[in-house]
């Protein structure tokens, strides 16, 4: 994830099920989120779900600017999850 660990407080850590966090009070982008790990219907795979709530400085304008520069959290999260899948399935991110 693009969020930095040192600015987070882990609020839930249930092994193999869920990790949740909340940003520290002085974070640049205040955010909170959770990752859930769910068995897939095939009985072999794992589905990874991320819920992220954030408060971009600058409101709607700030979000549009961030999106333009490819730094909007939703986009970053999509890319990060894709890379996580690559690492888990193939061992590395193809370049």
């Amino acid at each position: 994830m693009a969020v930095r660990a040192h600015a987070e407080e882990i609020v839930d850590d249930s092994p193999s099920v869920r990790i949740a966090w909340r940003s520290a009070e002085d974070a640049d982008v205040p955010n909170a989120g959770a990752v859930r790990f769910v068995p897939a219907p095939d009985g072999l795979s794992t589905e990874v779900y991320v819920v992220l709530t954030y408060d971009i400085p600058g409101g709607a304008v700030g979000k549009a600017v961030a999106k333009y520069f490819g730094e909007e959290p939703h986009q970053q999260l999509d890319d990060d999850l894709r890379r996580l899948k690559q690492v888990l399935e193939t061992g590395e991110v193809v370049r």
Binding site: D79, K85, Q86, V93
Partner: protein, 386 residues
Amino acid sequence: MRANTWAGRNKVEVRDVPDPRILNSRDAIVRITSTAICGSDLHLVDGYVPTMQDGDVMGHEFMGEVVEVGSGVSADKLRVGDRVVVPFPIACGACAACAAELYSCCENSNPNAGIAEKMFGHPVAGIFGYSHLTGGFAGGQAQYARVPFADVNPLKVESGLTDEQVLFLSDILPTGYMGAEMCDIQPSDVVAVWGAGPVGQFAMDSARVLGAAKVIAIDKEPYRLQIAERAGHTPVNFEEVDVRSRLLELTGGQGPDKCIDAVGLEATHGSAHIAAYDRVKQAVRSETERPHALRQAILSCRSGGVVSVIGVYGGLLDKFPAGAWMNRSLTLRTGQCHVQRYMKPLLQRIERGEIDPTRIITHILPLDEAERGFEIFKEKQDNCEP
């Protein structure tokens, strides 16, 4: 090294480019001994595939000798010195698509998966030399190429077959074969193939190998129809006859049982007003395809038949005959070829002499003459004959 590069619409240029190097641990570097120009390279040069950039190294059909392997490639899979044919889709071998042998839909090999996802709904595999939509990987019309997931993709060729006999295992022979395989051919079947270029010719040969009773070749280039006829297929020249009427005559009024579109998005058409309609729509970018062959295949196919599409489409098309498709119980099957699925069995068919891939070769040129090669292919010059 020298490489043939995309230099803007309607232009390729052989230039000096940096040598490829190992970027991932499962990469290999291949010194290329033979490569080919694919019909789909013409779509890139004609500007119908988005996200090409000046300087992109072209080519997705190549073979050669392994000169370097990454630390993650085990020696039992691939070694320096191995002679390999490289399949055009890059597959990781580990995702759900690869597990289902849908290699051209690999979920992990396209660094630009996000762009492909916006365009196609879901991402597709990386492909060598085939735009940034499919990863921006440098292609094989070059002296060397980097091959990712080299422990999964390349086919080792250990028998004494020539480059000309095995090169087309990289794309067009498996593509033609998959086009025929998707038809689920029965012994009494008449199979019609739109497009008698290299892929179409291989689709025809494959249909024959898979047991079709009669194979029909549809094109307008006399030399292509002659090549098909020499191989035992029935030619139909769409500039001389009405295709649908001729197909009815050849099939007792029923239409072909199975129809293969080996043309794709840049079809030409005997009917001037329909051709003009699609050309105008393409020019103003409100349609990316000229799907005449697909439309005609759907309208011509016998009720309950299969229309198998291996010609390349990239975006959106107009006037899709959904009524014919639905009301006459047609099955539409398609896909970029899952080359890795077919390489070994087709290599065996070549070794047994059942398929002769060399029969479609017309020109052999040095790399530095790639520009002339593209011109000959695009303009169908000299009957594409040396």
